[in-house]
Amino acid sequence: MEHELTWGLPVILYLFLAGLGAGAVTVSASILLRSGDYHGGSFFKLARYGALIGPIPVILGTCFIILELGRWDRALNLFKVINLSPMSIGSWLLVLFIFCSLIYAFVFLPSFLPRFAWLSRRLIPIMHVLSWVNVPLGIGVAVYTGILLGAMPSRPLWNSPILALLFLVSALSTGIAIIILAQTLFRRKKDPTVKAERRIIARREATLLRPGRRNYEIGYLLTGSDMLLIGSELIVIFLFVMFAHLTVGNLKYAMAIILPGGEMAAMFWVWVVLVGLLIPVLLEMFYIIPKVVYQREFRIHEGSEILISVAVLVGGFMLRYIIVVAGQITGPLGV
């Protein structure tokens, strides 16, 4: 496997991290808009995780991609012009998104300190406007990473309209995963509300109460939407692979690399489909179905939450890795 990659690990990391950050901010802003909870409720705290985490991977990824440039000292040349190149539109979009998501993150900071409650209240309108701005911007950044790859007929594997959709769904899914992970890891263990909940449950269903199990509405929201997103991702991957396989010519031969017998088949089916999609979606279904079908209370084990989110994150990275590498080691075959 001695292939030379024009776009290496920094680009792969960038595609993953930009999608992750954009997804987290988009999810955070839509939670805020949907719940209308600007006053420190559980939805607000959830949105805060997304808002504070979101910009970090995007900025990190942007640093990677700048260092990948042949002449990183000239990176600002990107902003001398704007043309129809996906990279030109994408870099403008990225700068705008980083700017807006950073302000969005800073707006949440006063809510940590009770002393600045007055400031938090004052910032609510800004928060509201910024969430409206950040949803389309975040979706734009996530979609553009797919369009960036898809714009070239010379890379048949990438040259698919559904690749952008795949990257968008994966970005939102990884965004939710990082929020689940953050709120599981940083949750205060001695949260009085959790204790109270536990007491109530303990009286009714003592047998189901084991250490680490939690019962909360926001967990259901996150896990449920993640399950739906992973489900759609599975469908998109199926369409992506199937339609490429059913065509003739370059695209079919390019897709053969991730189909059984191909050079990267094992990696794709194990890391992306099994670890990144099937394991998390089955685990989530295990917790979601009792609530949906039998109207039981939703409760999920912390360990499962961590497992789900880490698996989704690994799957998201491996998806970018395999698509970027496989796209570059395949090409048009006819001359």
């Binding site: 990183w72 990107l78 043309n83 190149s85 714009a151 070239m152 010379s154 075959l333 006819g334 001359v335």
Partner: protein
């Protein structure tokens, strides 16, 4: 608008009425009744005229807008259509430098690759111009053919369409695709987009590099260095837009082909008698041996 229409109508209705009166005076029976009904219908028409007229006005506005959109769309679309659809002479010919490579005259000596490397001091491991070997068959029925390669200076260059800084562009004056080395940031997007693998990132300078038809030589009336060095005169350089140039005559008189036509790039490097045997042929079960040797760092074509 509605008023004009009713005015136009009124003389007709009057004439109709006169005629009907005459008719009724001649013959008795249901005629007056008919006249009545006709008058009624006419007056009815007058009442109803306004809404249809307004509707017609709106429709005409919408139709006009649609026509304008269609006109804009076709004029924009016209930019992308290259084919000279009518069979008459093309009056829109522009200067477009191109190359014809007569593969029958190529002996695979790599003189063009070497001349190019020394002309531009191309770093080791990279090529602006190179010669591929295609080996076929089993002894004693074997052949080796050569395929000199370079940038195709496409009429629809994918590299230009993806460049985010406008550093690479197709020159208006002669159709050569060049890289503005002061603007290029080395993002390698054009290297990905080129279906001919004609571009590389210069490891010394850090910007994208490629064949530019030796613009510095062409500006002084010289041929590109690969052309002037070719021992078999396999490479012919010239203006494809000029009907009297040698290259135009060669393209007209020979069965020429271009590489990777299906990519829709409209290359301006034409081949005479090129062997288009490729990796797809190598995969066919009935084919004994096909080997493509690229003679460059990238062992496989892409």
């Amino acid at each position: 608008m509605a008023q004009i229409m009713t005015e136009n109508h009124s003389p007709e209705t009057e004439a109709d009425q006169k005629q009907l009166h005459q008719d009724s005076s001649n013959a008795a029976g249901p005629r007056p009744c008919q006249a009545m009904s006709l008058q009624e219908t006419v007056s009815h028409d007058r009442d109803d005229q306004q809404p249809p007229a307004r509707r017609g006005f709106l429709t005409s506005i919408i139709a006009g807008l649609m026509m304008a959109v269609a006109a804009i769309a076709t004029s924009l679309g016209g930019k992308w259509t290259l084919a000279n659809v009518n069979n008459g002479p093309n009056n829109n010919r522009r200067k477009q430098y191109g190359m014809v490579i007569d593969v029958r005259r190529c002996i695979g000596c790599h003189a063009c690759s070497v001349a190019c490397k020394s002309e531009f001091d191309v770093p080791i491991g990279e090529n602006r111009s190179w010669v591929e070997y295609i080996e076929k068959g089993v002894y004693p029925n074997v052949s080796r053919s050569f395929l000199p390669r370079l940038c195709n200076h496409c009429s629809e260059p994918p590299c230009v369409y993806v460049c985010p800084t406008n550093a690479t562009y197709k020159r208006e004056e002669d159709g050569i695709v060049v890289v503005d080395q002061g603007l290029c940031i080395g993002c390698k997007y054009c290297i990905q987009a080129c279906p001919y693998d004609a571009r590389f990132l210069n490891p010394i300078t850090g910007w994208a590099d490629k064949c530019d038809f030796c613009t510095h030589r062409v500006a002084k009336g010289l041929e590109p260095s690969c052309v002037s060095t070719c021992v078999g005169a396999a490479r012919i350089f010239g203006d494809l837009g000029d009907l009297d140039s040698e290259i135009s005559k060669l393209v007209a008189k020979n069965r020429v082909t271009v590489l990777r036509r299906e990519m829709g790039t409209f290359p301006n490097v034409y081949y005479i008698a090129a062997d288009h045997t490729d990796e797809l042929d190598a995969r066919r079960p009935e084919v004994q041996t096909v080997r493509v040797i690229t003679n460059r760092r990238h062992q496989k074509r892409r």
